[in-house]
């Protein structure tokens, strides 16, 4: 599949937005400005970016607890995301979701998810909805290596396959289920082999190679749109940070992170720009500066957003019922 220069620049911009948003979230968490749990996507940017570049606005994604990257890649807006991380009224979920529960129905983002393995069957449901409505939309289901040990993974692949649903299962194999490395949590090396159990194509690719992700997911999306069923794509990648911010990562062998830092997906694209004379160093710097500004604006937006009213805690439990609150 041919990638136009414009598409590539757009993807590079997306990767920068993810990297810089996440780096800021890391700092803000360390400064105590973001409560709760934060799971960062730094190092895995090529997966969400390359995958979502194949989607239209009316396509769907399901995400995970490490969801910021997917949401940005599917068009989520930094201001609303950052305000949500701050727990503010203008956040995507009016401060009721936080980092792990951002959704945007208008962009087909069916939500980040705090339960490992829960997105698989929601994606299947999304595929069922598409099939029922007889449209050519697709759903990409993002998930990590450890979630492929949940029963839900197997239930979802089986049902998606038997019903030929338009779902692309994109596994981000970042080598760890929290602190437990892949060789300690499953007896296979390539998760893509599990596609065979469900008679669906399963491939393994370099998840830090934007081009490889774009192409592999592109082919799977095209198959899905034509009604040819689901695909399992395993993207080998690595999370630079711990499972959550504050994780001391004592479980990582010496030198492992350093080796992966050398495979940073972002400079690989920059190198391509320079070598093929698509962008100059100055243009790259300018784009970086612009994204820095976007993230700064998002932080400002979040800081200026009001704290949600206490009454709002009672809203949206149901569509038509609001129970009484407490009087203090």
């Amino acid at each position: 599949m041919k990638i136009t220069n414009e598409q590539l620049k757009e993807m590079y911009l997306t990767m920068l937005k993810i990297r810089k948003f996440e780096t800021s979230a890391m700092d803000l968490f360390a400064d105590g400005k973001i409560p709760g749990f934060v799971h960062l996507y730094i190092g895995e940017e090529a997966v969400a970016t390359g995958a979502c570049a194949n989607l239209r606005e009316d396509d769907y994604i399901t995400s995970t607890h490490r969801g910021h990257g997917h949401i940005i890649a599917k068009g989520g807006e930094l201001n609303y995301m950052m305000a949500e991380l701050f727990g503010k009224e203008d956040g995507y979920c009016n401060g009721k979701g936080g980092s792990m529960h951002i959704a945007d129905a208008t962009k087909g983002i069916l939500g980040a998810n705090g339960i490992v393995g829960a997105g698989h069957n929601i994606a299947v449901g999304s595929g069922l909805a598409i099939q029922t409505k007889k449209t050519d939309q697709v759903c990409i289901c993002f998930f990590g290596d450890a979630s492929t040990n949940q029963g839900t993974f197997h239930e979802a692949l089986n049902l998606a396959s038997v019903w030929k649903l338009p779902v692309v299962f994109v596994c981000e194999n970042n080598g760890y289920g929290i602190s437990v490395s892949q060789e300690r949590h499953q007896a296979i090396t390539d998760i893509s082999v599990r596609g065979a159990s469900y008679n669906m194509p399963g491939i393994t690719i370099d998840g830090n190679d934007l081009f490889a992700v774009y192409e592999a997911v592109g082919e799977a999306v095209a198959r899905a749109r034509k009604g040819q069923g689901p695909t399992l794509i395993e993207c080998k990648t690595y999370r630079w940070r711990g499972h959550f911010e504050g994780d001391p990562t004592v479980y990582r062998p010496e030198g492992e992170l350093e080796a992966w830092l050398k495979k940073d997906p972002i400079p690989r694209v920059e190198k391509y720009f320079i070598e093929n004379e698509l962008m100059t160093e100055e243009e790259i710097k300018e784009m970086n500066d612009n994204v820095d500004k976007m993230v700064e604006e998002a932080i400002e937006f979040a800081e200026n957003s009001p704290i949600p009213s206490l009454e709002s805690a009672l809203k949206d439990v149901y569509s038509d019922i609001v129970e009484e609150g407490r009087v203090r």
Partner: protein, 324 residues
Amino acid sequence: MKKMTYAEGIREAMRTKMKEDPNVILFGEDVGKFGGCFGVSGDLWEQFCDDRVRDTPISEGAIVGAAVGSAACGIKPIAELMFIDFLTVGMDQLVNQAAKMKYMFGGEISIPMVLRVPAGGGIGGAAQHSQSLEAWATHVPGLKVVYPSNAQDAYGLLLTSIDDPDPVVFIENKVLYAMQNDVDENEMKAIPLGKARVVKEGSDVTIITYGRQVYDSLQAAEIVAKDGINVEVIDLRSLFPLDKETIVKSIEKTHKAVLVSEECKRGAYTGDIAAMIAEELFYELDGPLMRVGALNTPIPFSTELENYVMPNVRDIELAVRSLF
């Protein structure tokens, strides 16, 4: 008036909505050509074919998950689990996903799904096919819980549940499936959730119940009537939203209440209603709140043991008499 079974009431509600709206679909284990484990879906597959009435693998996580995901994308799914006991396998999708999505996404996404679950004992199903787990569902903010006792209510409440924008756990009592009731053909219409029905008016004591125990309660009421005790029987019909108004009105009249359900008593939803009455109507009461339920055991297999563990008419009668 015509006769209709409880199962037919449910089926006809599904048929009505499926004819009306192409986005209403039904899926679950053996709901297709087989017609459903208890025959509830019957001939729907013949009418609506594979696209709209789908057999699923035995895969409850995927069944409930597919309901959540398709509902989030604009479909109105009706998912059937063969037994409420199997909800354990799909519980994450119901509790952490369906019930939470609207709230934790700031109202962005609605989940208009119906999860139909056959519940209750009395058919020799033993411990894993006989439970009454309604309290698990009523406990979770974000879920609505409906439990009809007769064909007309099953029809009207299911029509409403399918159109409801929130996830509804629609509990069906297995023993009632084959029971025929008179239905008023002119009244075959949607029944709002949260409206209880006073099945029998009375002045001396209120029985608050639902499902199969409505019939046991009516029988107990008949027995004590011979001794001059005039019982009012309320069929809640929907457990959440709960029709507090009807409960309050009745207790203000009778000043006595007995709560009856098939659940084992420990942690039962009747306990929650009793607590509400104690908090809000304590000074209206002139006797203790009584509860009737199953014993705190799993449901045993042997008919004699099952009958011993399950609540019956005599238990209700004794509870009522103890207040006089």
